[in-house]
């Protein structure tokens, strides 16, 4: 299993990378960590004539707080994100999800932006981006535009990104409201670190009385894109969360899902597992926020 021939150019700056991609058009692909792209090359599912390597662009790696968001530059390694105090303090759901991303050996190369740009419907980081309403920044040689995460994805591995654009940064909103924020993340995979069959994440904000003030819930692996569960969120907000309330909020949740049947699980299995995992993620989120399910 060897890749077809291609050229490799190490971009030396953001401008250089954008210029190279602009020139290459749809013959060019951006190489970040390569943990998904290199297997696709090996299996010849991708046949670019040139790879534009962005690993050497210092401006495109790093994590910081910018206003009310944590700004993660595209080529930030997943390991760096996992070890980041900024993420641990400000983005509880992302912090909970990152240990589920691949294996130690793939996180050392794999990037946050690469995972989001690739858009596997069961991947953890895109799920968190959709759940929290992250903003994705796309640059081309001539323009820059932000896209909301939940309108970024159009299908499995399909996004709103144009062929001359590079995803340069993701801004994850910080919940600064008064109260206690907690998060939970669960998934089912054949082996820890493998592609998830179904994944679910939840983040909640509880006030001093234990009333849910904000909720963000998303599920992966049950449709072509990660799906935010706004109806379920609305049913939780304004209430003291209990097992019964969560159970009611999740009733019929599978009816809105359109999962695939494949060798890893039937569509029915995915719907049932999704509901269970969302419930567990919510229970963990409440406990993480110092609450208890009455």
């Amino acid at each position: 299993m060897k890749a077809a021939p291609f050229d490799h150019i190490a971009a030396t700056s953001a401008e250089h990378a954008l210029q190279l991609l602009g020139e290459a058009g749809d013959d060019g692909m951006v190489l970040a960590g390569g943990q998904t792209l290199v297997p696709m090359l090996a299996m010849r599912l991708a046949r670019p004539s040139v790879l534009i390597d962005i690993n050497g662009i210092a401006d495109w790696a790093g994590i910081d707080v910018s206003g009310d968001a944590v700004r993660i530059k595209t080529a930030t390694r997943q390991t760096a994100a996992l070890k980041s105090d900024v993420i641990a303090e400000n983005l509880p759901l992302l912090a909970k999800a990152l240990p589920w991303v691949g294996h130690h050996q793939t996180r050392n190369r794999g990037t946050v932006g690469g995972s989001i740009a690739h858009g596997d419907p069961a991947a953890e980081i895109p799920l968190v981006a959709v759940a929290l309403g992250a903003e994705i920044k796309l640059h081309s040689q001539t323009a820059a535009r932000p896209v909301a995460a939940d309108s970024f994805y159009q299908g499995p591995m399909m996004s709103d990104r144009n062929e001359d654009e590079i995803l340069v940064e993701i801004d994850f909103p910080i919940w600064r409201d008064a109260g206690r924020t907690g998060a939970g993340f669960h998934e089912v995979a054949e082996r820890h670190g493998d592609f998830a069959v179904v994944s679910a994440g939840a983040q909640v904000l509880l006030d001093d009385a234990g009333v849910c003030q904000k909720a963000a819930i998303a599920v992966g692996g049950v449709s072509g894109t990660p799906a935010r569960l706004r109806d379920a969120e609305a049913n939780l907000i304004g209430n003291v969360l209990s097992e019964n309330l969560i159970d009611e909020a999740l009733t019929g949740i599978g009816d809105h899902m359109d999962p695939a049947d494949d060798l890893h699980g039937s569509a029915d299995y995915r719907r049932r597992v999704a509901r269970v995992l969302i419930g567990r993620a919510l229970a963990d989120a409440v406990a993480d926020a110092g609450g208890s399910l009455s």
Partner: protein
């Protein structure tokens, strides 16, 4: 595509070779440099047999291009041996604890274990499982591999004290 000159440090030695852009670090090590200790398993990042350490971090050498490793520091399983080619401490621990059967996954297991023990000489079984979670072994059932890594950590501590 044109072949590129690659210079890197492998197991402490400055090394050069030539690779076309599509050549993985794995193929470069095995076919260009004849360091065949690193094993080729799935070639798409699933099995972990090709694990090597680049700039101090364990990575899958089938998922990194040789051209990307230019200027980097790489450690392979050959680098775990003693200078006379005899097994090093970690390899001895795998032998003593029967941490292998067919041996195919062993180079990758050793490199993942080595990376763990560089940071933690007293890993819990959970730490060890996490460290080798990306390495597949179809023979042992993993238990003896975990024993071997724990044993190596103990021996390294004794040696250090």
């Amino acid at each position: 595509m044109s072949r590129r000159d690659i210079s890197l440090t492998i197991n402490g030695k400055a090394t050069t070779g030539v690779a076309e852009p599509r050549m993985t670090l794995l193929d470069f090590l095995r076919d260009e440099l004849h360091l065949s200790g690193t094993h080729m398993g799935c070639e798409h990042g699933v099995c972990g047999a090709c694990t090597v350490i680049v700039n101090g971090e364990p990575i899958r050498s089938c998922l990194m291009l040789a051209v990307q490793a230019d200027g980097n520091t790489v450690q392979t399983v050959e680098g775990l041996c003693q200078e006379d080619g005899e097994p090093g401490l970690l390899q001895d621990a795998f032998r003593d604890a029967h941490g292998m059967q067919c041996g195919y996954c062993t180079p990758g297991m050793l490199m993942s274990a080595h990376a763990l023990l560089q940071e933690n000489l007293s890993p819990s079984d959970e730490d060890i499982r996490e460290a080798i979670g990306g390495n597949i072994c179809r023979c042992t059932g993993y238990t003896q591999i975990i024993d071997a890594i724990r044993l190596a950590g103990e021996r390294m501590k004794e040696q250090g004290s």
